[in-house]
């Protein structure tokens, strides 16, 4: 039992002190048994306070420490470090959360909040009194990272990790790498084309010996945990033997082309967002990587016509599974463009209403004249915020990239084709930062900007065979404006991937916007609550390419730091079996998800034993024991019951 405990009650500026009477809390706590020092402090986390606590622990030889401040999710480690620096075991430190769960939650009731703070701290005191000094076990960690998604974020992270000395598996569920970036033509950040950037990066990727790429591959299942994940990968059949395909072999290319030509199956080409069709044998663009076409297994009728032309084709390929061992997983799975439901601004009903991604493909495909469905385009109306900033729909968020992307496309068609009039029906242009210059350039080129708001949106209708966009323009005091246009481009935003399985297998939490959720936007922007699982890029929120790459590189840095020492310190919260009481009934082994409990022999009696390296401290074995012979370190009956007592006392 600890007898010399120091308790510090944090004002947190006025975050706590405005609602909790910290002086009263201090007085009440000072009366408790075993409490030697009680102090209040403006910012417990400030370096000066940390120093003061260290000095106090040393001077008064404190044997327990309680800091009542914010959520332990923010500062548990900060204060455990404080304890450690003063020579106190970090597990003799307990944090009482009197901000998130007291002052903020009950800011409407200062008296109630003060009472609750006292109870919460008493609970923390009860815990610290019974706390044991613990040393965290270390596990070996594999310095290997699995990157899911070979779009720009994934490829960039792969190269960087490889250069920092980490082995990388990178998987892509498509048969080709490059993700969304490869689908874009000119990129607004630098005017390079997506294809160029991906080609450049893929060349770099191929140079690294410590990167293995699997295309057509997804995660089938995982087990294990940080440092040692075991992942089963599912490789779907490409139906063309990749190793048969030679580069710069004109003869071979000819044969492949013949095979493509003979293929009788035509399906919408999703690389071009379905504005064109492709065969069941396909590749996305000229320099697509890997440099080998693929056969769309779902679309292919297996007629076998192609096989006669090309020996590389193998319609009998089956899906394969391989097992890999990795220390961490980095998700860079990207986004799906918002797909408007039929009828939203005439989409799917009016012939010449398309989405921004479709428009971008169209610009890429139309070399000299902008033609859509055999009609030469002389005027374009852009309708912004389609699928973003929805008032009634689910997507409340702004998709961040689309204003700039639409404006950039508009500039691009001015430069590439002659005499096109552009109308931008926007809800406030969000060309933040240097992107503002594009907005300026487009306005100077004569693009017409009309602003609408949530209540008065633009509408698209057909009158006498002509497509008309109507709106009340805020910029001209709400005057009704009408434009007859050849093409309507719906500036669609980003949505989370429709493919949910990867996130579900890895149990990555999702946020209110349904994108993957990081732990903290500012403190831990690429970490998730699942240790060893990182996220980066557009799978966590809409981002443009530069931003996604920055996040990918951040995640690479964090993953490398986690694994490069070859070992990771774990929490020492492990299950412990009271072998005297144990009657070996097997219930605990059945409950344990990690196979961490074994049958062993104790002087002729069969008893259970915990394998420490496997135990993750979840405690699932605790309640199933019929004789109550298992305790979790830090959560023993004595501790739990004394906390329960203390909080109501």
């Amino acid at each position: 039992m600890k007898k010399k405990i120091g308790v510090y009650v944090c004002h947190c500026g006025n975050n706590i002190a405005d609602y909790v009477d910290v002086e009263k809390v201090k007085e009440e706590i000072a009366k408790e048994d075993g409490v030697l020092i009680t102090k209040t402090t403006m910012f417990a986390c400030a370096d000066s306070t940390q120093k003061e606590v260290v000095d106090d622990i040393k001077e008064h030889e404190l044997d327990g420490l309680v800091i009542a401040s914010c959520s332990p999710k923010l500062h548990l480690f900060t204060f455990r470090n404080v304890a450690e620096r003063a020579g106190l075991n970090p597990y003799n430190y307990v944090q009482a959360n009197i901000r998130e769960q007291v002052s903020w939650a009950h800011s409407n009731d200062p008296k109630g909040a003060t009472e609750k703070a006292i109870h919460i701290i008493k609970g923390a005191l009860a815990k610290v009194k019974l706390s044991e000094a613990l040393t965290p076990p270390k596990i070996t960690a594999t310095n290997v990272v699995l990157i899911v998604g070979a779009g720009i974020a994934g490829i960039r992270a792969a190269i960087e990790l490889a250069d920092m000395g980490t082995y990388v598996y990178i998987i892509e569920n498509q048969h080709f790498v490059g993700g969304r970036t490869s689908q874009w033509n000119s990129l607004f950040e630098t005017n390079e084309s997506g294809e160029e950037v991906i080609t450049r990066l893929f060349t770099e990727l191929k140079k690294r010996e410590n990167i293995t790429l699997f295309t057509g591959t997804s995660i089938n299942s995982t087990s294990g945990s940080v440092g040692n994940f075991e992942v089963k990968l599912k490789i779907s059949p490409r139906l063309i033997k990749m190793d048969c395909v030679k580069t710069d072999d004109a003869e071979f290319d000819k044969k492949l082309q013949q095979a493509i030509d003979i293929c009788p199956v035509e399906v919408p080409d999703d690389f071009n967002f379905n504005i064109t069709k492709r065969k069941a044998i396909y590749k996305n663009f000229k320099s697509e990587f890997p440099k080998c076409p693929a056969i769309d297994d779902e679309a292919c009728t297996k007629c076998g016509d192609c096989e006669q032309f090309c020996e590389a084709i193998d319609l009998h390929q089956k899906e394969e599974f391989i097992d890999i061992k990795v220390g961490a997983v980095l998700l860079a799975t990207g986004f799906d463009p918002y797909e408007p439901p039929k009828g939203e601004y005439g989409y799917g009903e009016i012939d010449n209403v398309i989405t921004l991604p479709q428009f971008k493909r169209l610009i890429e495909l139309d070399e000299n004249e902008l033609i859509y469905k055999d009609k030469k385009i002389k005027s374009v109306a852009y309708i912004y915020c389609v699928g973003s900033r929805q008032v009634d729909g689910e997507n409340k968020y702004c998709s961040r990239y689309c204003c700039t992307s639409a404006i950039h496309s508009s500039i691009q068609i001015q430069n590439k084709y002659e005499g096109i009039t552009s109308y931008h029906f926007n809800r406030g242009i969000r060309t933040y930062g240097k992107q503002e210059l594009l907005y300026k350039e487009s306005s100077e080129k004569g693009d017409i900007y009309l602003q609408v708001d949530e209540e008065n949106r633009a509408s698209v209708l057909v009158e006498n065979g002509k497509t008309i966009v109507k709106a009340n323009d805020i910029l001209t005091a709400g005057k009704e404006f009408e434009a007859e246009v050849d093409l309507v481009v719906l500036v669609t935003g980003m949505t989370p991937r429709a493919e949910k399985r990867t996130g579900e297998i890895l149990k990555v939490p999702i946020g209110r916007d349904k994108f993957f959720n990081e732990i903290h936007l500012k403190l831990k922007p690429v970490e998730t609550v699942i240790d060893g699982v990182f996220i980066s890029g557009a799978c966590q929120a809409p981002f443009n390419i530069t931003e996604a790459v920055k996040l990918a590189l951040s995640a690479a840095s964090k993953a490398n730091t986690l694994l490069n020492k070859g070992e990771i310190e774990l929490e020492p919260t492990l299950a412990k079996i009271n072998k005297g009481t144990c009657d070996w009934c097997d219930e605990c082994t059945k409950a344990c998800p990690y196979d961490a409990i074994l049958k062993t022999d104790l002087d002729g009696k069969a008893v259970a034993e915990v394998i420490e390296a496997k135990c993750k401290g979840c405690g699932m074995c605790l309640p199933v024991c019929p004789v109550d012979a298992i305790e979790l370190i830090g959560y023993s009956n004595a501790e739990m019951e004394s906390i329960i007592d203390a909080m109501i006392a």
């Binding site: 500026g13 000066s48 933040y432 930062g433 805020i474 920055k550 490398n560």
Partner: protein
Amino acid sequence: MSQEKNQKQYDVLVIGGGIAGQESGLNLANSGYKVLIVEKDLSIGGKMIHLSKVFPTLDCAACITTPKVSECARNPNITILSNSEVLEIDKKGENEFDASIEKRPRYVIEDACTGCQECEEVCPIVVDDEYQWDLVGRKAVYIPFSIANPRVAAIDIENCILCGACEKVCSADAIDFTQEMEIVNITAKSVIVASGYNLFDPTQIERYGYGKFGNVITSMQMERQLVPTRPYNSVLRPKDGKMPDNIAYVLCTGSRDEVVGNPICSQVCCMYSTKQAQLIMGALPMADVTIYYLHIRAFGKGFEEFYQQAKGMGVEFVKGKIGRIAELENGNLKLRYEDIHEGVVKEAEHDLVVLSVGILANQLPRDLFKNNNLDLDKFSYVKQIDELSNPAKTSIDGVFVAGAASGPMDIPDSISSAGAASSETASYLRRSK
């Protein structure tokens, strides 16, 4: 503080101890690299440590910076030189940068000072407190601010009358007037430029009357009024201490403005103003807040929702262009503006006007490098020469850029940019080893 104070060789020299410098320094230090952070200010923490709460999560800036600040200060692989400035960097070859650093005297022995503030009490001088953006005074010997790191006193020698009172009273014998400016020469294998940004000076826009009208303040001055360690007891007008009840924000002050030479958007003002408006409504429940804007750039994760929340709380957003601000006899301000929704010129009276000042490039990196050219963009930000695939890469191999040194950026963007810089630096160091 690092034990290896006199070390002369580092893997990485980080210029700037703000959030970007700290984040990249910490990442690299945690991977085992030796890092030197040079901070020109008396404390590390940059701009962020002075902010109140941060958008869109409304957690307090101090709660996020102080742990990072103390982690930096404690990390055995990090050495910090505060109150110091890099004068010149000479690239001698791959992995070899010679830097000379000016270490200015504090006139206080850092290790001896306990931060007790007894010296402040006896100092007879009161001058503008730059850490409170001149809203209140400070002494000539002073601790910069309560959560400064290091939290030790310094003497502002320009404003000192050399009375010696501080030295007499200091029980720790920490005052030392014999200190002189030192030049520290070090070598580093790589450099991260994380020198941040400057705020736009609104005296350049005369028609807003900043500096002339006491109740026209900058957003940074409002920010200080909203922190726990604020200069006044409440949000008050600096001219007469009146509690304002009708506050106006003028967005795009010094941004998107060709006339002042800054045509780009500052990326943060819309959101920090929206945040301040929410905080003001908490601090002064009776006050009305009007935000005059051109476009609201609520683009980041959770920003749009935050903007809608502010509207829901009753913050008034007026799409309008401010023409001129005039001061009335009672200290109130009259704003002439073009109401874009209605297409007419209007006037409105407010009792406090906050200018949402934009951000500008820090000029420091411009002439730092000898014999090498550090390319800048046309707004004097450090140029990212391969923005899409190597966002931290600059025109000098081995020199990387982090945070707002490469352009306007909010905190999450600065942190991810710093993450990228640390990662690119680490692989550079490994590649060229």
